[in-house]
Amino acid sequence: MTYSAFSLLREALRNHTGWKPAWRSPKPRAEYDVIIIGGGGHGLATAYYLAKNHNVGRIAVLEKGWLGGGNTGRNTTVIRSNYFYPESVALYELSMKLYEGLSRDLNYNVMFSQRGMLILAHSQPEMEIAARTVNAMRLNGVDADLLGPEDVRKRAPVLNFRDDARYPIHGAVFQGRAGTGRHDAVAWGYARGADQRGVDIIQNCEVLDVIVEGGVCKGVETSKGTIRAGRIGAAVAGHSSALAQMAGVSLPIQSYALQAFVSEPLKPVIDTVAFSPSAGTYFSQSDKGGLVIGGGLDRVPSYGQRGNLPMQEAVLSGLIEMAPAVAKVKLLRHWAGIVDVTPDSSPVIGPSGVDGLFLNCGWGTGGFKAIPAGGYLFAHLLATGTHHAISRPFDLDRFRSGYLVDEGAASGIAH
């Protein structure tokens, strides 16, 4: 079924009785050509681009819970490509371009809203670094503007321009094409597109073990039985170490909880994304009116998928410093996802070290923006067995060669 203004009107007239499920729920076959483990955005996008751009035969996505129930459905949905190194910019800018055409490509509204993003600078030295960031972005061909305090005030008057501000606003790095999207819609849109192209999406199917025969990965043991495959791609985010361990591989990854918060709905107060590295907080406002608030990682490695108080206090103190006017707004929900952090804050795309098993992980705190590119590049890798030029720098071998893409340090992103 194609979604359109016409189908919406037709269904409105017949009381929405004609909508069909957006994807099937098939029983798993005994064997596939390619299996993707993890039904988050990266896994589903991989399946979609595999089916759309490559000819690899039968494909399945195995998800232990429900689609998007991992970090894809838990993130604060900021999409941007304001990175520093050319390798990262190539990756995240590919993603941005795919996002720009995604609703049309998928015939599914992912609500990508290019409302821009401000990274605030709170001192003269920070303004100098901001200028350097803007220059680097422009040299890499990405849109960026250095804003002074008046420009920032025009874009986001709710921010703290008081004389007694702990972090006075000197200006900001602004990326106008950045913005937010609807996280569930990204997962569901890719799932629907993959399903339409014949991919079997199997939910409630947990991978319990990886079958390795003669040093080659041949399939998986799951809660729904044994499934064999020619090639296997894992996109399981915070659980990547546990999964790789099943094949005897150790990864340069540490799992942490990352928390987010959403407030009660209020009238529009901000129509862009604002991030203060000094306050350690960023926020935007959803179409429903809730403030969507995020901050840094918990400082303790964790697989506990839930929020806690110390970080809540840190992030919300930051919010009140950034926008004192929202101090009395009540929180509606508070949660955490388990994110997969690498030493250089860049992702891992590449072979795992065991033949037949490939990895898409290490996106840490910033992989929602990368879902289209991650899927596109991982599909290329799974179909051809070799890297696309854009994913090559993100191979695991960088930790041996020392060619790290150290974005955490370079672009001043805490996460």
């Binding site: 170490s241 990864l251 990854i253 799992s255 400082r299 490695p301 964790s302 110390p310 930790f399």
Partner: protein, 88 residues
């Protein structure tokens, strides 16, 4: 707020503690040639276990460094091991 046990101070709020790293990693012997793979393993590879973990922690106010055993899913503390050698 969770409390962690410092072997020197006793139970203190979690914010006072600093996670330093997985316990039991041994730095390569630099008097000999160390391969890139061994360096990478030491510097970057993590066990990142889901479940019981054994880690090096520091209690920042008193600077005590010790081993904490905990459950990385439930966050429950399972035990502490003192690293400091007491005066004989």
């Amino acid at each position: 707020m969770q409390q962690f046990p410092c072997p020197f101070c006793g139970l203190r709020n979690e914010q006072e503690f600093h996670f330093a790293g997985e316990a039991g990693k041994i730095r390569p012997d630099t008097t000999r040639k160390v391969s890139a793979a061994d360096w990478a393993d030491y510097l970057y590879t993590q066990k990142n276990t889901m479940g019981e973990v054994r880690e090096v922690w520091m209690h920042s106010p008193c600077a005590e460094i010790f081993i904490l055993r905990r459950d990385s899913v439930s966050m429950a503390v399972l035990g502490v091991e003192q690293l400091r050698k007491n005066k004989p």
